[in-house]
């Protein structure tokens, strides 16, 4: 009922402000990913990733984190290094320690003083909104396609 009470203009919750619970998952600094990463829970990423991240919730790239590739999420907080485009359905926050080379597409974007950023910002981008539902038909269509193929074969 009180949902609208002051929650619209607040910045996305910083991962540090949340109590240490199971909901935020932390991927440590020695992790090196090469490939595609999908997630549906709050994630703090301190490792290195080459590839793409598709995420439906809050994603923070920590100070030690580095991503080479495109990022899609609801909230993105960057404290580390990102080389690639960032698409967020809600907001992108580029913190003081961040180094970002790439374009940012989000309705709300914040860049802190001291952050390194080179790229373009688009706050009226429609693709960020449409990107999220597009993942659902893909997962649904795979078994459907399989059924069709096995029936015909």
């Amino acid at each position: 009922m009180n949902k609208t009470f002051g929650d619209t203009k607040l910045a996305p919750p910083a991962p540090a402000a949340q109590p240490a619970s199971n909901t935020t998952c932390v991927l440590g600094p020695t992790l090196h990913f090469k490939g595609e990463l999908y997630g549906e829970e709050d994630l703090e990423f301190q490792g290195q990733l080459e590839g793409t991240i598709e995420h439906t919730r809050s994603l923070s790239i920590g100070k030690e984190g580095g991503v080479t590739g495109n990022i899609r999420a609801k909230f993105v907080i960057v404290e580390g290094r990102v080389e690639g485009d960032i698409y967020a359905t809600e907001s992108v926050s580029i913190r003081q320690t961040a180094k970002v080379v790439g374009n940012v597409f989000a309705p709300r974007v914040g860049i802190a003083d001291g952050a390194q950023f080179s790229g373009r910002i688009d706050m009226n981008h429609k693709q960020a909104q449409t990107a999220r539902p597009a993942t659902i038909p893909v997962t649904l269509s795979e078994p459907a396609a399989e059924k069709l193929l096995t029936k015909q074969a």
């Binding site: 440590g28 490939g35 999908y38 829970e41």
Partner: protein, 121 residues
């Protein structure tokens, strides 16, 4: 020497909704509750949690499996397959334990110096 979980400070948890396809390299303990397809090359301990699903070749110092693994595993120290585990693939380590109740289909090789998983057959 019990199975009591030692909660080390540096354990990354790869959460249950996370899915990753590709190559993962790491040098810290990791617990996998999500799904990984591809390969895992690891220097420390890998725990495949009860919700975890791994379709990959896994190399690590120590591997504990509570979830599902499809693929070959090789460890420098030991591999533990617990009761809730479902494993399909070959395992290779100096010390291997499989708890009664586990679902395991594959070969076991116990060698004092298990090198990297050789795919030669």
């Amino acid at each position: 020497m019990s199975n009591a979980q030692v909660t080390s400070e540096r354990t990354s948890v790869f959460g249950p909704t996370l899915r990753f396809k590709g190559e993962l390299k790491a040098q810290e303990d990791i617990k996998i509750e999500g799904r990984i397809e591809g390969s895992i090359i690891h220097q420390q301990k890998v725990i495949v949690g009860s919700k975890g699903e791994v379709v990959a070749t896994v190399q690590a110092a120590q591997i504990d499996v509570d979830g599902k693994v499809q693929g070959d595993m090789s460890a420098k120290k030991s591999i533990k397959v617990s009761q809730t585990a479902v494993v399909r693939g070959n395992i290779r380590a100096p010390s291997v334990s499989i708890t009664e109740g586990a679902n395991f289909n594959g070969g076991v090789t116990m060698e004092p110096n298990a090198g990297p998983a050789s795919t030669a057959r």
